[in-house]
Amino acid sequence: MNNLVTDIAVLVLAGFVGYTVISKVPNTLHTPLMSGTNAIHGIVVLGGLLLMSQSSGVLEKILLVVAIAFGTINVIGGFLVTDRMLGMFKSKDKPVKDTTDGPEGES
């Protein structure tokens, strides 16, 4: 049972990390951020990979192939879309910095 306790400790700490990281994001980046975190929860694809070697029966295998396909769409699609969105800001690097620093500096 010790492992469960360790896992829950990891869970709680990860929660705090997530909270801290996100609490200082400029509004402008909310959409790319949502898309980026969306890609990160595609980590569930690991579950499909882990279970595949232990699955038995056609139904289970079909379900897992679908699950892995879903997870892959989530991961690859998520990261690509985020990259595309961010690429639009990239070429205008300096102005981006300008506007996002502005409101913070005033308040």
Partner: protein
């Protein structure tokens, strides 16, 4: 990515055992989640965001590779091929979808990507249960193989260790809700389904009832000896209905909040799957998304002066909107419509013009036309600025992305708090496809459902020109007194066509 399993397959035959040791793989997992967290930190700053995203992607790749290394009990090449098949299908669908999607369609793309993630969680939970209960002989394979930390349950009934059961059931319910909810959100944003709230009488009670049924079934499944294989399907179905029922009554305006919430839910369900499978990197990644998604959801809801519970309870636009519309100051008054030529003259002789774009501009694909108009006006010596409401578009920051796509210089974009004091010296404000974010009722009418929502105070400017498709109210379904203001004139028609027409008139002057 598709090369990986083959490489591993070859590697396995010659590989020293240390590749497959739990310690080594756990170390890789640590590297993976360091990269994921570091990458995500990068995503929070405009200068580091691109790199952050790539770092996170590398972290994800390492996690996948480590997981494949762990499969030392690969039973034959069938497994490899099936994994490859799944990855290939996912890649074949994911890459083209991500590369082709238009920036305006981004919210629904995020919704659908989020949905498939939730679907994956639900399917994995289903397999876990089928597997665990249908074949008692191998029931402890999963936790055993993943570290052997749990005593093997010897009963022939085939019970999971409770931790696996509880977390997988959580994953099954939340994942299924997320999958179906996201699909509905996608349908609404894609306008396959009507954006208006679809509501049954007693909806909230029905939803609570469904949730109760799902949780009760889960508890029975944990404690009892019922036919579990069927039970889990039942739970998935109930959760699916719940997902549909929760999102259907929610109006289009609240959709970004809902997507963000579902995003957080999928994260939590991924973390639960990680707990069930004792997989650190899944726990970390899932939980970070769960936590950050929750904060993001709150920030979005706050920007709209809504609370998350009231959004989930559903239906702006339903019973609330009708009396609010009637009570709105000047509601039902007459509107003044104008022509493109008049607008062009108005704009050309102004000193400062503020453009307040909304989602209507985006759907009409008018951002490039708007940029043209801005250039034409600047050529005439008119100062032009853009006023960006935090929830303009359909997600916070969405409008910035759309305008960035049209090459609008970033220093022309003004956030709400910066632009509001400037409206008093603005000659003409051009409202393009925005409605609720400009509704003065939010400041003046305590009876309005959006009372207190921060708005762009366009009614303070000298004159207002509103480009609209029709007199239909905004997504929130609330009448906008701005349209009846004597200094407001309306130009009806498709936003892109109207803007192009105005631009042509401006250039001809």
């Amino acid at each position: 990515m598709t090369q990986v399993p083959i490489a591993l397959h070859l590697l396995r035959q010659a590989a020293p055992p240390f590749w497959q040791s739990t310690d080594f793989i756990d170390c890789l997992y640590i590297v993976a989640f360091i990269l994921l967290v570091y990458g995500m930190t990068g995503l929070t700053g405009p200068r580091t965001a691109v790199r952050g995203n790539k770092i996170a992607a590398v972290g994800m790749a390492i996690a996948v590779i480590a997981t494949l290394l762990r499969q030392h009990e690969f039973s034959g090449s069938g497994t490899v091929w099936l994994i490859l098949l799944g990855v290939a299908i996912g890649t074949a669908i994911g890459i083209p979808a991500a590369l082709k999607v238009r920036m305006t369609a981004m919210p629904q793309m995020v919704a659908i990507f989020n949905g498939v993630g939730g679907g994956a969680v639900a399917l994995i939970a289903w397999v876990e249960f089928r597997h665990g209960f249908a074949s008692p002989g191998q029931l402890s394979v999963t936790p055993h193989a993943l570290g052997g930390f749990l005593t093997i349950n010897q009963t022939t009934r085939g019970t999971f260790p409770l931790r696996v059961e509880i977390f997988e059931l959580f994953g099954a319910i939340v994942g299924s809700v997320s999958f179906w909810g996201s699909n509905i959100a996608f349908g609404k944003l894609q306008e396959i389904l009507p954006g208006r709230p679809i509501k049954l009488p007693g909806q909230a009670l029905i939803n609570l009832g469904l949730l109760a049924v799902a949780v009760a079934s889960a508890v029975i499944l944990c404690t009892g000896s019922h036919s579990q294989a069927l039970f889990i399907i039942g739970i998935l179905v109930v959760a699916a209905i719940l997902g549909n029922m929760v999102v259907l009554p929610i109006g289009g305006a609240d959709m970004p909040v809902v997507i963000s919430l579902l995003n957080a839910c999928t994260g939590l369900s991924a973390a639960a799957t990680g707990l069930a499978l004792d997989n650190t990197v899944m726990i970390v990644a899932g939980m970070i998304v769960g936590a950050s998604g929750t904060i993001l959801t709150n920030q979005m809801a706050k920007a709209m002066n809504r609370t998350v519970p009231s959004i989930i309870a559903g239906g702006f636009g339903g019973a609330v909107a009708a009396p609010a519309g009637a009570a709105g100051s000047g509601g039902g008054g007459t509107v003044r419509s104008t022509s493109a030529q008049d607008v062009a003259i108005q704009l050309s002789y102004a000193r400062l013009v503020v453009i307040a774009p909304g989602y209507g501009m985006a759907v009409a694909q008018a951002q490039h036309a708007v940029r043209e108009l801005e250039r034409a006006l600047e050529a005439k010596g008119v100062e032009v600025k853009y006023a960006i409401h935090p929830v303009a578009g359909r997600m916070p920051g969405h409008m910035n992305v759309l305008l960035a796509e049209a090459d609008v210089p970033y220093d022309l974009l003004r956030e709400m708090d910066d632009i509001n004091p400037e409206f008093s010296r603005t000659d003409v404000t051009l409202v393009i496809g925005a409605n609720d974010v400009t509704n003065p009722a939010a400041n003046t009418d305590p009876g309005s459902p959006i009372y207190g929502m921060p708005i762009l105070e366009v009614d303070k400017s000298g004159a207002v020109v509103v480009l609209k498709r029709s007199m239909a109210s905004g997504f929130a379904g609330i009448d906008n007194p701005l349209f009846y203001d004597p200094k407001t004139s309306l130009l009806f028609g498709d936003a892109k066509a109207s803007v192009s027409e105005i631009t042509a008139e401006v250039q001809a002057l």
